[in-house]
């Protein structure tokens, strides 16, 4: 695999009210995924400050504090974040590396320091085999939200293609796995899910059948698409507290 320059329409989460920016990144890995080209004209603004220490609190402050009675993320939210990351990994072969790389780009090094810490954070999902009995702090959750939305923006072309394939296969009445790219995503998602989730959990037993797991994978694709917008991070963050307050 070689290096190549891609032009990415990357909307960094800046302060509320400031539109997206146009950035050029260098991909170190050539994956099966093409990054999002310029699809729509956006209002330009000045680039965000590059100093990591000054952006860290600013980025996290763009997400409002909704749960005043608790300092940790509720159970359902931890599960949701891990599943969204699982869907991203199923779509992009370099997804797990990309999480750390994007975290570094956004200046979230202090929260997402290395792979082990990321693994511990992700394993706060109660459905995991090696569930870490530790809470997920709001700062860690916010960092994950920002990374997920950033990656969703970069993968928006793939997500759209997959959702279009779902629609086409459904309209024709054909199984989803028959489509090449969509079948690849679904198969990877199923294998990741079965390898990482605790099969003795009642919530995991529900997903024993491949059709049910495919349904979950498609739902996550839709959610990722809706999180890839201008206010995607705020929308995802608010949705984590639905039914918890």
């Amino acid at each position: 695999m070689g290096r190549f320059w891609v032009e990415c329409c990357c909307s960094l989460p800046v302060a509320a009210g400031r539109p997206s920016v146009h950035n050029i990144i260098q991909a170190t890995d050539c994956s099966l995924v093409t990054y999002a080209p310029e699809t729509s004209p956006r209002v330009t603004a000045e680039p965000p400050p590059t100093d990591a220490e000054s952006t860290l609190p600013l980025l996290l402050q763009t997400l409002p504090d909704l749960a005043v009675h608790t300092s940790v993320l509720p159970r359902r939210g931890r599960q949701h974040l891990d599943l969204l990351l699982l869907a991203i990994e199923a779509m992009d072969l370099g997804g797990s590396e990309a999480v750390l790389w994007v975290g570094q780009e956004l200046g979230l090094n202090e929260i997402l320091q290395h792979r082990v810490q990321l693994w511990q954070i992700r394993n706060t999902n109660p459905l995991r085999r090696y569930n870490q009995r530790r809470p997920l702090s709001l700062a860690e959750a916010k960092a994950l939200v920002l990374v997920i939305c950033n990656l969703a923006q970069r993968l928006s072309v793939s997500i759209r293609q997959n959702l279009l394939a779902v629609q086409q296969q459904t309209d024709k009445g054909q199984p989803l796995d028959d489509h090449f790219a969509l079948g690849f995503y679904l198969e990877r998602f199923r294998s990741h899910f079965r390898a990482r989730m605790n099969p003795r959990r009642a919530a995991v037993v529900v997903y024993q059948k491949p059709e049910v797991l495919n349904r979950l994978a498609v739902d996550l694709l839709q959610q990722l698409l809706l999180c890839s917008g201008t206010l995607g991070a705020k929308r995802l963050w608010t949705s984590l507290f639905d039914g918890e307050i």
């Binding site: 400031r18 909704l66 279009l164 999180c227 917008g229 995607g232």
Partner: protein
């Protein structure tokens, strides 16, 4: 000064036309604060939705709330995804149905529906189309130069507004079973006989006691008299016993007193065997053998002489 803002997405175009606020126009001349006309066109779907500020606010509220429901998987309450003219709810399969009720007054939207007025218009949106519509709205919300006072309410769904995941029938099984068992248990207890309440009997205690002389005397049963004699004996022993005890285990004596409180007999009960420390105790000194002949009633007390030099006086129980 009139403005037009266009937010274009692959499947949706949102157009807002308006004016700047005259009061603020001296400071900021580029902000659209008053909406004169707004249009929303979804590619491939006719007709174009249009209206004024109210239409725009309803569209933002309904689409924003519905999108939140799709992201979290928890549907929003009906009042949040419904307005007088717009309604967004899940359709068949992965579709989302947008229903628009056009206004029936002659001042309807310009260039709007070709159908008869009053008939609701329905569109089945795919998720991609919904995203493009939502993204156009989000770009409007994020634009500081268009309607800066317009904000989306970032409030999660309250716990009580979330519909229960288990069906009502399944949830009602446990309390129904509990109530049934309670009724059965209550019926069973009702069938049991009511217990008879009997007054306490004092006859359990022996009614007579034997003096050292061998005569049998009636025991004093009056509780007030017993209490008085008990405390009288305690006081007498405390005043009389001044010497330091040399024993290290409690000495228990059964002491018989008459109705005047005089000691007419005693016998050591504990410890059985061992050295007899009777000489140190005041019982011999207080003994009135003559009173045993004239006594009509007697009382047995349990007197405990403790190594600390104190005494305990209680009613004797066999």
């Amino acid at each position: 000064m009139q403005f037009q803002r266009i937010y274009r997405q692959p499947n949706c175009t949102l157009v807002v036309e308006g004016l700047a606020d005259p009061a603020a126009s001296l400071i900021d001349t580029n902000t659209l604060s008053i909406v004169t006309h707004s249009e929303c066109q979804i590619l491939g779907l006719d007709p174009v939705l249009s209206g004024g500020r109210d239409f725009l606010v309803d569209l933002i509220k309904v689409v924003g709330a519905y999108s939140q429901g799709v992201i979290s998987g928890i549907p929003r309450p009906a009042m949040q995804v419904r307005s007088p003219h717009l309604d967004l709810h899940p359709g068949e399969g992965d579709r989302h149905q947008l229903v628009c009720q056009p206004e029936t007054t002659p001042l309807t939207q310009s260039g709007s529906s070709s159908s008869e007025s009053g008939q609701p218009l329905r569109w089945d949106l795919s998720t991609v189309q919904l995203f493009d519509l939502m993204e156009a709205i989000d770009q409007l919300l994020a634009d500081p130069q268009t309607l800066p006072d317009l904000q989306f309410a970032w409030t999660p769904v309250h716990r009580r507004q979330v519909p229960a995941q288990e069906p009502l029938v399944q949830r009602a099984v446990a309390p129904t079973l509990g109530a049934t068992l309670l009724a059965i248990a209550a019926a069973g207890f009702m069938a049991m006989p009511v217990p008879q309440v009997k007054p306490p009997r004092i006859e359990d205690r022996p009614t007579t006691t034997t003096t050292p002389a061998g005569t049998s005397l009636n025991l004093i049963t009056d509780a007030e008299v017993v209490q008085r004699l008990q405390s009288q004996t305690q006081q007498k022993l405390a005043q009389t016993w001044k010497s330091r005890p040399s024993f290290d285990t409690a000495q228990v004596y059964r002491v018989t007193i008459d109705e005047q409180g005089q000691i007419i007999g005693y016998r050591r009960e504990e410890p059985l065997g061992g050295q007899n420390y009777e000489a140190e105790l005041p019982l011999k000194m207080l003994l009135q053998p003559n009173a045993a002949r004239t006594a009509k009633q007697a009382l047995d007390l349990r007197v405990v002489f403790l190594p600390q030099g104190t005494t305990e006086v209680k009613l004797w129980t066999p």
